[in-house]
């Protein structure tokens, strides 16, 4: 729970921070803390994904974005009550939704009753894969995983097209535009 407190403190600091370099570093700290929380909750694979994507890749990607935009956030335009209200409402609905979940770690929760025993008992004889997680992901949920991979592939193609288009447009203008972008 101390970790959760630190997580909340870091989040508030990220929101209040005006220097975007500091925000990038605090975001890295945030995802290391989040990974620690996930390890305490026994979700080690999710924690490793969080650490690699959150602390590794997105730090680099955010720095690349800073290179294109600039290091200081603009002043806040005005007090916004409506967004605050909608965020608070969504948060209240989410908390209300967690109230009816079964307690953490109970063995007779619905998620452990439905297909999990069958996976655990029969995955070796049905799929010949020694690792149950791999069997579920690549065999029982093969179409699901294929769809996810297609989504990520499409997103990657889109990002590549956008980036290449921007580079092609900037080139004819020469050096003056380059220094403007580096600011």
């Amino acid at each position: 729970m101390a970790l959760m407190t630190l997580l909340a403190i870091t989040t508030i600091a990220i929101v209040r921070q005006r220097n975007l370099f500091g925000v990038v570093i605090l975001a890295g700290i945030y995802s290391f803390l989040m990974a620690s929380v996930l390890i305490v909750l026994d979700a080690v694979d999710v924690a490793m994904t969080e650490a690699s994507v959150g602390a590794g890749i997105s730090t680099v990607v955010l720095l690349g974005t800073l290179h294109l935009t600039g290091g200081l956030e603009l002043e806040r335009p005005r007090r916004a009550l409506l967004p605050l209200f909608s965020v608070a409402t969504v948060a209240a609905v989410l908390v209300w939704g967690t109230l009816s979940l079964p307690p953490f770690g109970t063995a007779d929760a619905p998620i452990h009753k439905h297909v999990a025993p069958r996976y655990l008992e029969k995955s070796v004889e049905e799929t010949n894969v020694p690792n149950v997680v791999t069997a579920v992901l690549a065999d029982y949920r093969g179409y699901d995983t294929l769809g996810e991979t297609a989504v990520i592939f499409t997103a990657g193609i889109g990002v590549m097209l956008l980036l290449r288009r921007g580079r092609g447009r900037r080139k004819p203008d020469g050096a003056a535009d380059d220094t403007g972008a580096a600011k």
Binding site: L6, F21, G28, I39, V44
Partner: protein, 94 residues
């Protein structure tokens, strides 16, 4: 013993985060971020031994590599203002 170590790591985690938030210069923040990464590795190891499952130590290696990449990226960006900076190319341009 491991519980005491975990509490100590949590305390130093709080101190590092305080430095990252308060830190007047960028380098304080970079150093604090690196320290938080190291402390996360230590916490992972101690928690693994605390719950009797030290096989998560392999994940600590991954964290260590990621931590290095993140810190290097920030410092390189701060030094050159660019992530894809090539030192030789810069010398040739000058």
């Amino acid at each position: 013993m491991f519980a005491v170590a975990a509490v100590a790591i949590l305390a130093s985690l709080a101190l590092a985060i305080a430095r990252a938030i308060a830190g007047p210069t960028l380098f304080d923040r970079v150093l604090a971020g690196n320290t938080v990464g190291t402390l996360a590795i230590l916490l992972l190891a101690v928690f693994g031994f605390l719950t009797g499952r030290p096989e998560f130590l392999d994940l600590g290696l991954t964290y260590g590599l990621l931590n290095l990449i993140g810190t290097l990226a920030v410092l390189k960006f701060f030094r050159y203002g660019d992530l894809a900076h090539d030192d030789d190319a810069g010398d040739r341009a000058r």
